[in-house]
Symmetry: C2
Subunit: 591 residues, 2 copies
Amino acid sequence: MPTLRIALAQVNSTVGDLPGNAAAIRRWSRSAADAGAHLVAFPEMMLTGYPIEDLVFRNSFVQASRRALEELAAGLATDGLGELAVVVGYVDADGPAAISADATPGAGRRDASAVLHRGAVAATYFKHHLPNYGVFDEDRYFEPGDSLTVVRLGGVDVALTVCEDIWQAGGPFTAARRAGVGLVVNINASPYELNKDDVRLPLVQRRAAEAGATVAYVNLIGGQDELVFDGDSMIVGPDGELLARAGQFTEELLVHDLDLPPAGAAPNAAGSTDAAKPSVEQEIPHDMAIDRVAIPGALAPPPERRTGQIAPRISDEQEVWTALVLGLRDYVEKNGFPSVILGLSGGIDSAVVAAIAVDALGPDRVTGVSLPSGYSSEHSKDDAADLAKRTGLHYRVEPIQPMVDAFLANLSLSGVAVENLQARVRGVILMALSNSDGHLVLTTGNKSELAVGYSTLYGDSVGGFNPLKDVPKSMVWQLARWRNTQGEPPIPENSITKAPSAELRPDQKDSDSLPDYAVLDPIIKGYVDHDLGRAELIAAGNDPELVDRVLRMVDLAEYKRRQSAPGTKISGKAFGRDRRLPITNRYREGL
Amino acid sequence: MPTLRIALAQVNSTVGDLPGNAAAIRRWSRSAADAGAHLVAFPEMMLTGYPIEDLVFRNSFVQASRRALEELAAGLATDGLGELAVVVGYVDADGPAAISADATPGAGRRDASAVLHRGAVAATYFKHHLPNYGVFDEDRYFEPGDSLTVVRLGGVDVALTVCEDIWQAGGPFTAARRAGVGLVVNINASPYELNKDDVRLPLVQRRAAEAGATVAYVNLIGGQDELVFDGDSMIVGPDGELLARAGQFTEELLVHDLDLPPAGAAPNAAGSTDAAKPSVEQEIPHDMAIDRVAIPGALAPPPERRTGQIAPRISDEQEVWTALVLGLRDYVEKNGFPSVILGLSGGIDSAVVAAIAVDALGPDRVTGVSLPSGYSSEHSKDDAADLAKRTGLHYRVEPIQPMVDAFLANLSLSGVAVENLQARVRGVILMALSNSDGHLVLTTGNKSELAVGYSTLYGDSVGGFNPLKDVPKSMVWQLARWRNTQGEPPIPENSITKAPSAELRPDQKDSDSLPDYAVLDPIIKGYVDHDLGRAELIAAGNDPELVDRVLRMVDLAEYKRRQSAPGTKISGKAFGRDRRLPITNRYREGL
């Protein structure tokens, strides 16, 4: 059996940064060659970044992607890496963008994978299954490919596939079995969701069985806007054995030697017995065509055996914390912001966001501002100062009362308008400091508060990035406690243990307005994340009165949001969930 | 030939308001019956409103839609309208929502049309072509139907189709020819775009030729979030003759008698000569199945001939103005807001928004606030007061200087931070008044300003609805001049003729920072709306230096927006365009 040393480059990429991404590919290809690899695979859309969304409709961008691919192939040869087979994702096109029904059907854009070898593009494959749910809109952007590309490399047949191709039975993996390949390379941009790693391994195992071949799965890492990619790259044998696995959220090269059946000898090639056929999960509409390409040259057998690690899985709290840190860091770095600023109330939410920011950027790029009012308690100010001291961030105090008083002296306001005014004066101050110093403003409202509208529009909602927007309050506490067990505790114990309060009126507590978070969060999850109706929530065991109360709060919060903020929705494309409700919607379970 | 009197109900509907929409259907069906119609057709998704977006994933909503359809059928019979054939759009389901790849393939949601007759659902049809471009995401939400429903009504074969089915050649209209139908009913939710009526008539004519049948096209009217539906319903003969056409943006019943070929005698039925075959614009992948349903009862021939109007088309300015008025009115009414509030600067943008608001809601539901600073000129204050007097809206003056001074006394700010501070103090005041009185806050920035970032985040961008967000500045002036020719001029002449200024520093003029709007707007249109790159814009005849300057401004504005406002994009789902660019995007034509 030929031995193929493959390298999975679990690396970061930036949307639109063709030169930067190409440079990263050259750098990691050098490492792969140095490790003696015959083939290195990069994630989906590595060259362009993922997701490129409407950039796909800009002809100049698509042309630039194709040009960058050819320059990259040439550059790799210049680097002396021409003999390494480099699998890389990019955007291709074989017609005008299918932006409307007027466009010629059959033309369009391709989510593509290429094999670069000896200075040229040796083979290409176009993604067959296009996901169009959750955070994915690929039916808008791409036309599906309908043939499988099989590359013969050093006597082994290798099939190319892209991401969603592995999430659906039938199609490329069935074609790969028919083609009798020894290896399927699957390049991914698969976003993080809590415990997604529990789903991935069984999925790759099912597909390896379907193809009757080893599967090499490589995933992106890094933050891109509201998405975070978690890596979790792996190699699984045709019998389902996990042979190697990279870490979560880590940038690394996973190198592993595979003894693979020579081309033509694969047990599942056409002509083999029916008994080897997989149990396929769905009806397959039609067989894909198979395009075969031979890559010239023989494989030098590796001098010694190399085995990739099988990285252990990290805890839920570490997963979420790491995703939040990486998401924030990449949002700041990919945008090129020098620093971040946030208001510090002394409460748990701003403390956790500050700790995330310091973990992401270091204390020197984080400014925390205490913005006390007449209602701020002494412990709030103390806890904010304590947090600043523990984390080492830049700290300043800007009392808001003189500005609040100026508004109150000139406008006749009462009740919630006065509460909101304080939050808005804080927003104006943070924005003024952002304008003066170029900071990105961080927002600190958690998902529970946002869902029930316990937040001030244009007040504490001011900011360009909110690490907690998809984190329920119960999880905020859990994260704080976990983080404090990792080395020096950054978060004051008092911020964790005290009863939460917005401190917008005397002696205010969250519990005056909201149910206990332990019962609130599951109802929000059902109603907002899982589209459950009132009857289903009650059937799931939630207290009927509480369900009515919470649904009313969520619906009312949506009403208030649309009164003053355009198209504001509680949960966007965050952590694998894209919620799109009509704004002026009369169908309410709670009102 | 049998004579069929058909009524097209070009009416409004509200997303999620099942009882309200059902009541409207019963009311308009009564009018159709009173006019002697045999068949009345309502728009796509009339019963649920359109678009329902993620509501489709809520099982309780889909069940409520199906229940409402059955109750509606029964209610029509109770009303004595059981003999009238009522064609109505709704959401149906024949399986769990296809929310992810894990869902059973083949199951899902249907964009459906039903014929209600004698108290029951007599026939249903599922939309075949699902649009997934521009403002449409129907591949996310629906599963395509693959059979054509043909209803025999009074001896005439009538095919049911939905919206996009008419925008693509092949599919249902080819099947309708094969089925030999005399009439195709096409129900729509087709959003307004400038001059879309110029496209629709030739489209319906092509499809009538394809089907070899008369086509009855009925479209929704009304505003729904960022979309406006413009009606433009029509009946076109198989020879392409326009037989009747409703007005634009009007709620009306278009009643027209059609002499139609009896079933089996249609010239294009299976077995007729090939010469009658249409020239089809694309390859048709497969023939749709044909389901035939007979509606019992004979048609009473109409006592006298009835011919629908052929409404003339309105001017471009009237089209846009009417769309803006209708869009705002329905946003306010469908949300149930009591009133609106906006800042009046004396400039053209806020004057036009105020005039639109007064046209939409009447002066008593509109409050204009003059918010002068130390930099506000006398003419600005006079022009704002003049506008208030002309339109009769509620007017108040709230000087901002005391609050601005309080911030300046406590923070050390200079330059653009001071300019922005003034706009933000105005935003805080408008929000305080909104909180106190329940007004919807209107934003007044035009598309040109927003695109180049000539606007303050959390300042003049505060508000829940912006009628001008998709209107370039040149068009704002054009609209103002046009509106002033319609009866008493609401807009002060001085607001139209004076040089535009933000008045955030002494003697500031837009022209200090921006190119002339006459050259700016075409570049914005090319870059933002049409995805043209730098080279294409220059090739189109724009001055290269100007192109570079404008692209840099647009790119820089996007950078500034993402620094402090989450996911803010310059153009959303407004007037038939849905732009979705990655936020942290390094591919820039202008930076």
